[in-house]
């Protein structure tokens, strides 16, 4: 079993626990370390405190049947921490509100944008100055696939 250690700089890090060899189902056990020192066969004093696994699905996917993953190709949302290559978790059951980041149909293509509502009109905002806002006419229908709840980005 691999174990995740605290790095030297403690300020930005948090010990989550050992990482299991098996990643399916996605789970990190909190306190179930099987480290054995020397020839000792004494039971671990932590045994009684053994707890449930940390499940990333549980943390980031609240409604599985309505949750879909997308992969981002554009750079229009880098200001919101959404980069080309990011995987985003999208929940269709969440209500899109003014300020939500959503997957929206723009002329037959899925785009990730921040939704802004002014009166009865919607604007789709990018988070990159290179992309101007897209104003929707009041009669133009807004087709939202779902609300982006989490961004997964693997640092280079």
């Amino acid at each position: 079993m691999l174990t995740m250690f605290l790095p030297l700089h403690r300020s930005n890090c948090k010990l989550l626990g050992p990482v299991p060899e098996s990643t399916l189902p996605l789970a990190l056990p909190q306190y179930s370390s099987k480290v054995r020192a020397g020839q000792s066969h004494f039971p671990s004093p932590a045994q009684d405190y053994e707890q449930e696994f940390l499940d990333l699905n549980h943390r980031f996917i609240t409604n599985p049947p309505a949750t879909f993953l997308f992969v981002v190709a554009g750079d229009s949302m880098i200001g919101a921490g959404i980069y080309p290559g990011s995987t985003i978790i999208v929940d269709r059951s969440k209500k899109a509100k003014s300020g939500s980041i959503v997957i929206v149909d723009v002329e037959g293509e899925w785009m990730v944008k921040r939704l802004k509502k002014t009166g009865r009109a919607f604007t789709l905002l990018s988070e990159n100055p290179a992309y101007p806002p897209i104003e929707l006419q009041p009669d133009q229908s807004l087709i939202v696939f779902g609300v982006v709840t989490t961004v997964i980005h693997e640092p280079q």
Binding site: P65, F68, F70, V71, G74, I88, R92, W110, M111
Partner: protein, 427 residues
């Protein structure tokens, strides 16, 4: 109308396969879409826009209509069963919040048992329909009735008659209204009444659902048997078909498929058989079962110019086993016996039967059963690796590598919901 307290709803997705394809393609929202059967043979699903163009396309061979369909702007897909199975699970999971008991009847239909859920069902149906659309993107229709047969009929009305807007409740209407609805429907719209039964019923003057409902159950039983008698009782609100929450345990596991291109060498056929054995054995092990017998069949197409050829053999195993290698060995032995040269085979399949649960198998005298610890461990490891990575990561070498006999799915959409490489892209 005699009432019982039971209330069933049938939720049925509209043009399910075509709708699944549309969820991920905003550019196709109002476009006519069709889905083709295995090997891109014929049309098996049409979106509502495609139905409006030509109702008669259903089941037509694709090569016959391709030119006309393309001219009309029809978009076509090969069947993407990975996607449909995933969307089907989302659909039934979404339904579970609405009823204490759900029966997943088919890939695109589920029955809900709403007995005791006292609601305005028309309103409730709309809520179900809107939630499924919001969560999964799939359009559905909902029908309510005091029996499953009536719920199914209600669903048909909800789907085909525009006035209902996708929700039809037969539990709250008067007998007069029910008569009007049923008189307008041919008996073939009733669950379990096929075209052959319809013809015979029509000859007896039973030419609409209302007349079937009012037929004498005894006479129906004498003429047609107990199954149709039950249907008549169900049409009268007397519930005979219960909700089946758990699918009855499979009596056999089958793996069979049409070939992408005709197969005529023993080598290719042998690879295909290995593939089917592997596939069936894996599914059998998932259920914790052991096979007591294996059946193998090979055939050419009855529509080919050549004479129809079909051969098969059933072999009982000395002792039940779940070991892929052992099953494959037996299957290959059968194949060598039944294979005939010079035939262009179109289909082959393997069926594992006489299934018994773990522990239920007996040891034989001759040591055929290799259900010892080593074999179990090997099969477990094999299944785990293939579960974790993808199907076929680890397989018997006898399956071959090239697999030219595999199903043709030239127009398949990406596996949007099941493969990391295939996630939908957003700009």
């Amino acid at each position: 109308m005699s009432h019982n307290n039971l209330v069933y709803a049938l939720c049925d997705a509209n043009s399910f396969y075509a709708s699944c394809e549309k969820v991920f393609r905003p550019d196709l929202r109002h476009k006519p879409v069709v889905v083709l059967s295995n090997n891109d043979g014929c049309v098996i699903a049409q979106s509502k826009e495609a139905k409006e163009l030509l109702e008669l396309w259903m089941c037509r061979p694709w090569f016959e209509i391709e030119k006309e369909a393309t001219r009309l702007g029809v978009i076509h897909f090969s069947s993407n069963y990975e996607l449909y199975a995933n969307m089907s699970n989302r659909f039934s999971d979404t339904l579970r919040q609405f009823a204490p008991r759900v029966e997943v009847y088919s890939i695109d239909e589920s029955f809900l048992d709403l007995t005791g859920v006292n609601r305005d069902y028309s309103k409730y149906g709309r809520e179900i329909k809107d939630t499924v659309m919001k969560w999964t993107g799939l359009p559905i229709c909902v029908g309510f009735g005091h029996t499953k047969t009536l719920a199914k009929l209600a669903n048909h009305c909800a789907k085909k008659q525009p006035g209902y807007d996708g929700v039809c409740d037969l539990t709250s209407i008067s007998t007069g209204e029910l008569q009007k609805i049923m008189e307008a429907l041919p008996v073939s719209k009733v669950w379990g009444v096929g075209s052959r039964l319809e013809k015979r019923l029509n000859e007896l003057g039973v030419d609409n659902v209302w007349r079937l409902r009012n037929a004498s159950p005894k006479r129906i039983r004498d003429e047609f048997g107990v199954v149709l008698e039950r249907t008549v009782k169900e049409l009268n609100g007397e519930s005979w078909l219960e909700l089946e929450e758990v699918l009855p345990e499979a009596k056999q596991v089958m793996s069979s498929r049409s070939f992408g291109q005709r197969v005529n060498s023993l080598q290719d056929m042998s690879e295909a058989i290995s593939f089917h054995v592997t596939n069936a054995a894996e599914r059998m092990r998932k259920k914790g079962l052991y096979a007591g017998a294996i059946h193998l069949f090979i055939q050419n197409s009855p529509f080919d110019q050549a004479q129809y050829f079909s051969a098969g053999q059933f072999v009982a195993l000395p002792s039940p086993t779940n070991n892929t290698m052992l099953l494959d060995k037996t299957a290959q032995w059968i194949l060598k016996k039944i294979f005939k040269e010079g035939i262009y085979y179109q289909k082959a399949g393997v069926m594992l039967s006489e299934l018994v649960p773990e522990g239920g198998q007996q040891r034989d005298l001759f040591g055929f059963s290799v259900t010892d610890a080593k074999s179990i461990k090997l099969m477990n490891t094999l299944d785990q690796i293939n579960d974790k990575y993808s199907r076929g990561t680890m397989k018997l070498a006898s399956e071959g590598l090239d697999n030219g006999w595999q199903m043709r799915r030239a127009f398949k959409s990406p596996n949007y919901t099941t493969d990391w490489q295939d996630l939908p892209v957003v700009l």
